[in-house]
Symmetry: C2
Subunit: 520 residues, 2 copies
């Protein structure tokens, strides 16, 4: 038995039985160990951004960390952008980054780099395994950190720690870490602040995030809102929302500062349930960074590291609304009609909403179209809604793959911007390899549309050659049908809303990956 | 005039007139400034690994740094793996990484990350611009560092430094930094060591790297070798070699430890001209990390940061061989015949060598096939040979794009492994967008062949399901013809050597990007 075997066994003992991987030479003993553990499902990504993005999607749907297998510093580096998104989502994940044998580091071989330095900005926990005898403890710590902090735990596995012999042992399952339940004082303070503010006629908003956006805590929050005149709101970007007909729908803080500022301007008391204070996605000249008034009172009921669901329950208790009394009305069942005619971001979103199956998982990275997707799916049958959380584009295709690995019985529908799709387009191959049940709709507008808008925002209305060539994807136009087929994914193109509806009908009625390029 | 204008003007004044870019919102003022400078050629990459890899290829061929434009920490992160290769190649490069407005950092908006922390492991110089008034000095320092250290200079440009007003000024060109010429003592010591060792009948090797691998210094080294019985050798991986018929060909340190160790075992004195001591690419159980004997004497004539060409000239002077006297024989003009029959790594390499045009640039990332490519092209017409230098796969397609931007009148021939191609496959679109004269031959063996070899190296001869699924790319097979066409690059497939020859004949006779999938 070697260190690599013990690492696998420790992961498996604690329920980590999916490993998204892109291995290299320094991980060959780990690959050999994985090969001896058929209980571990190994999913290959042809690029590490696919690996980490898939692990994020998987954990958002299961609540369990996946392992990732990454090859030295550059392999980790390729996965960092999607680790950034996962870090912002507070997704549990255990990265195993292979490194040179410890005694070889001094030789500064070509692939040597500062792995700790690369890992720290995008990890909540970083730990180098000190040798074969340290494997079990280090792995247990990383697993516990991923669930307890919660977040990104990065383990660095030197090749000699992987190949070194260890005493045979069978790791036992550890107790699963629990997130802290906010103290009674925090709950009492929030309840008191709400009562006092409402008694004084002031406006109160409860900002609900993270695990608070599941159906049950949303219903509880809806009772608080209905009985105490509190407005509910969710952040701009959320890891996972349980929504659709029969569930309480919260508005999100809008992306454009000029829209969000007036929307939040009347808040006198802001109670945070798992969210930070809302801030502008970017800073702009002469505009504020925080989106609430300077004199708005802020009370933290729970942070992103707390048990947000327990916090909302406790707040309901403290406010006397814990029973099954009247809450806000949930979303009514409603779908847009099947659109016809011109394909636009809006009609494309309507088509998705018109045909979304029961119990689907939407993975949305449609960027400038996401407002339409979010709005039109509000009354669809109950579904989960996963978003890009850190602004690092290129999460959509991998996240959909990970969600499909997590939930093989549910349809995953990926609404995907074209520019962002190209960042991790290799993820389509993983969808084909694993025969994942993902329908991807590429919103193909052949531009970085958000940037054209931002150019206008900085006062540039007439763009010249250089700007046009940096903001547009139209010369040559990407042919996503051809690209997808090249990676083994069946695909077709829609140029009208009617064609998109027809293609979606077909795609929803079959299993396995399918891509539709919706040319806008 | 704002800081972004001044940054552009400072780059342009110092000869930096190509910017490989993937911008985001925080760089909109920089994009607007670039738009006002038609002298700057802006080349869009659809993923940042394309951006940094292209900048590497460009600088290897021009000796001039390109600028890159990257969007905040995640954008930089996506470019880090190819920065790792460029760092190992000591390529001059000026990265401009946009960040939030300085006053917005405290708000920890979703895209906020530790950019300095991400940049340092893969940069030789990192500097945050402190405000509009600091733009010119910071940019000049970064430019000077890229050429003087030489290497990767990363500038962090806060949005408010870009949009802030500056006094109008016209930056002047600075004196180009020169690399240090090794001191007379270092040269004398190397010359004395060589004379003494040879007089005592000991074996001497001169390891030539970096700028020493251009045709002229190679010829000088050839005279040293011929007149003093010194063996010449080059490192395993080199940024650029001028080679082909009429030029001195050096053997490279082989990748497999079991081949390189005996090859270097007889060296009594190793003189380093721009190279570190040869080490194993990876450490293996029971095998050494350094590839020379422990009692081998090592003398450093020049490091990678010195003027290696001047050092070789000085050594020739000190050894009395500076004239035009007899040197080692250069490579004879010789090409393999056009291969027929089965397509193998060897026949594919023979086909490339049989048809390589005059004055071509080979960008080689064929990994397990690279030995064949290197061997069979040795007697081709004079050409440049660019390799992956840091082991971070995914440099080939971008490097070819950058070399083609640098040398529009030369044919670029990219010999490309399939697994590595998928890392930065988006670079094909840039080749199409810019109509770059690149012929890519994908060596499509549908496996990470090197890893299958390494698995055998760790004693695993029978691989199971998990290992097979992590090492092979065959289910489904990638269709590179379809992928390339989807990105606007014409493409065709060869399944025999004859077909490859026919396709190469056609591709070499036309201009513009073309991809051939050589199915092995």
């Amino acid at each position: 038995m070697n260190g690599a075997d013990l690492l696998c066994d420790t992961l498996l003992a604690n329920g980590v039985d999916v490993c998204f991987a892109n291995p290299g030479t320094s991980e060959m003993h780990f690959v050999a160990a994985l090969d001896r553990k058929p209980q571990m499902r190994c999913v290959l990504g042809l690029f590490e951004g696919v690996v980490t993005g898939s692990a994020d999607g998987y954990a958002r749907m299961t609540g369990q960390p996946a392992a990732t297998l990454l090859h030295t510093g550059p392999g980790l580096a390729n996965g960092l952008a999607n680790l950034h998104n996962a870090r912002r989502a507070r997704t549990p994940m255990v990265n195993v980054v292979g490194d040179h044998a410890s005694w070889h580091l001094v030789n500064d071989a070509p692939l040597t780099s500062d792995i700790e330095g690369l890992a720290r900005p995008m990890s909540h926990f970083v730990r180098r395994i000190e040798g074969p005898g340290d494997v079990r403890r280090a792995t247990e710590e990383a697993w516990a950190a991923s669930l307890g902090l919660p977040g990104i735990a990065t383990l660095i596995l030197p090749a000699d720690a992987a190949w070194g012999a260890v005493e045979p042992e069978t790791p036992a399952a550890l107790a699963r870490p629990r997130l802290p339940v906010p103290a009674g004082e925090a709950v009492e303070e929030a309840a008191r602040a709400i009562r006092e503010a409402r008694a004084a006629g002031r406006k109160v908003t409860l900002l609900v995030a993270g695990q608070g956006l599941r159906a049950r805590p949303l219903a509880v929050a809806g009772r608080i809102a209905a009985r105490h005149g509190v407005r509910l709101l969710s952040p701009m970007s959320n890891p996972r929302i349980e929504r659709g007909a029969g569930r309480l729908a919260l508005p999100k803080v809008p992306y454009p500062v000029d829209v969000s500022l007036p929307m939040l301007a009347d808040i006198d008391l802001l109670v945070l349930a798992g969210a930070p204070v809302p801030v502008a996605f970017f800073g702009y000249p002469g505009k504020p960074g925080r989106l609430i008034r300077d004199d708005c009172r802020v009370v933290t009921l729970a942070t992103a590291c707390d048990d947000v669901q327990a916090a909302i329950d406790s707040l309901a208790d403290a406010l006397g609304v814990s029973g099954a009394g009247e809450g806000l009305a949930p979303a009514a069942a409603a779908r847009p009609p099947r659109p016809t005619g011109t394909l636009t971001p809006e009609t494309a979103a309507q088509a998705v909403a018109a045909l979304l199956p029961e119990n689907a998982i939407i993975c949305d990275e449609s960027i400038t179209a996401s407002g339409h997707v979010f709005a039109h799916t509000a009354g669809c049958p109950p579904h989960d809604y996963l978003q890009i959380t850190g602004g690092a584009i290129g999460i959509g295709i991998p996240m959909a793959a990970g969600a499909a690995v997590a939930c093989p019985d549910r349809k995953v529908v990926a609404t995907q911007a074209d520019g962002s799709a190209m960042y991790t387009i290799q993820g389509l191959w993983t969808q084909a390899r694993e025969n994942l049940d993902v329908v991807t709709v590429v919103f193909s507008n052949r531009t970085y549309a958000i940037l054209n808008g931002e150019m206008r925002g900085v006062g540039v209305n007439e763009v010249g050659l250089n700007a046009r060539r940096m903001l547009n994807l139209d010369d040559p136009a990407l042919d996503f049908v051809s690209i997808a087929r090249g990676m083994g994914v069946e695909a077709a193109r829609a140029t009208t809303a009617d064609e998109l509806v027809t293609l979606l009908e077909g795609a929803m009625g079959r299993r396995g990956p399918f891509l539709i390029e919706a040319v806008l």
